[in-house]
Amino acid sequence: MADQGGVAQVWRRIRSIYNIQGNHCTTCDTYYFPPRLVCPKCRRKGKLEDYRFKGLGTVYTFAIVRQAPQDFKRQVPYVVAQVQLDEGPRLTAQIVNCEPSSVHIGMRVRACFRKITEYGHGGIIVYGYKFEPTMRVTGHD
């Protein structure tokens, strides 16, 4: 069966979703994640270079999702948050490896590697970033 669900759409973003690769505008010194095609501040004067984020950040806001689409059902309840990366930009990701009730605004988190979604039982598996609390076991006290 030709099941192309998501294949190219995911593949072309693998660098970004595996390793939080965004970019940095050297004209205005702004970091972007997800990567931008054009620096919205400088537009044609902008100069964008690839930048791999360190993967450390702080919870800016979050929700505990209790009603989710089918492929997230197994994880309910799960925490999804906006994480403010240390370099500046915010991204949206799940917070794992902790009790939902322990998540709070300002909590320090680091990126980890998880399964994000699956395109059905026979389709591709999408891997990428989620975040977990920093602690001794993650190599960050």
């Binding site: 759409q9 973003r13 997800p34 800016y60 806001t61 979050f62 929700a63 505990i64 999702v65 209790r66 009603q67 989710a68 689409p69 089918q70 997230f72 994880q75 799960y78 999804v80 948050a81 906006q82 930009p89 915010r90 991204l91 949206t92 990701a93 799940q94 605004i105 994000i116 979604t117 999408v126 990428g128 989620k130």
Partner: protein
Amino acid sequence: MFQGMAQMSRDVAIIGVGMSKFGELWDKNLRDITLEAGMYAIFDSGVRGADIDAVCIGNMSAGRFTGQEHLGALAADMGGLGHIPAYSVEAACASGGAAVRQAYMAIKSGEHDVMLVLGCEKMSDVNQSQAMYTVSVASDWEWEGMFGATFPALYAFIARRHMLEYGTTEEQLAMVAVKNHKNAVENPWAQFRRALPLEVVMNSGLIADPIRVLHASPVSDGAAGLVLCSADRAKEFTDTPVYIEASAQASDTLALHDREDITRMDAAVISAREALKQAGVSIKDIDVFELHDSFTISEIVLTEDVGIVEKGQGGKAVEEGLTEIDGKFPVNTSGGLKARGHPIGATGVAQIVELVLQLRGDAEKRQVDGAEKGMAVNIGGTGATSIVHILGR
């Protein structure tokens, strides 16, 4: 030169309004309800089918919800309107507002004289999981939705920051739902015509903490219609035209995480300010509001962003009754998205329908006394699109 401008730029009137019932309309399909709303609007306006120059439809995702696209031609065909131009426009939950604005601009430019504006969505033909997916493509699917951020979760992000920064309470989030349900009791087209006690809202199930199921607008089917006409011809058809005094639209980042301050919808701030300027009025001159309450937190945010109250005071506004029908700034007399229902593409058009009824004095038991000016704010996604209209008698 000035005269030339005036000739080119004509005023636009609304001469007819129509609605289908909003709700879970199991026995009707998309074309049934769209036709129904359109026919009522045409009957209400007094125009004949032959008078209509073009059709513009607001719809977000008929393709995903029902498998049908190409709604413009469908509507012209079903309505027996012949070979006139017909098209649909999409701006997520602001698709209805976008359709109104497109027709407004077409008439204002002189291209068309009389237009039928429709808004529709049929959401109940797919299961809940599919409906959630389809709604979440209004956010940044690749960077928010795919990572597990449901639409309620994104509004929970906003609510949690608003609560942190301004002390907005869970009770205030609930009070918006209580008020809008109370208003909907008197709206014959509303999906939920029943009052909700505060404690019921406050104890309803959490869907994305701190958002509860009764903070959220429902999955709905429904359609709404308007007949728009150049102001100089309005009196040919009706004695009670309502004029579009301003139409403004603004955009913001698609993803919520790209905004500096997520407790504020900049697109709403900018488009509301622009609309007030166009109409030459201040917020105090507006008698009735339809604000996009897809979640109760969004009504609170918009109450602030359009300038009814200072930033951070939106929760207090509802608590103190400022936004009740008999308050100083009545908001969502129709019941809003929360209680009238939120068939996505229909919402922006239905907001205008409510304001027209209010300005004509036809809003019956939910009538705001002596309403002369109304403002509708229709939001797409989590604030990436904002479309504001100001109507006047």
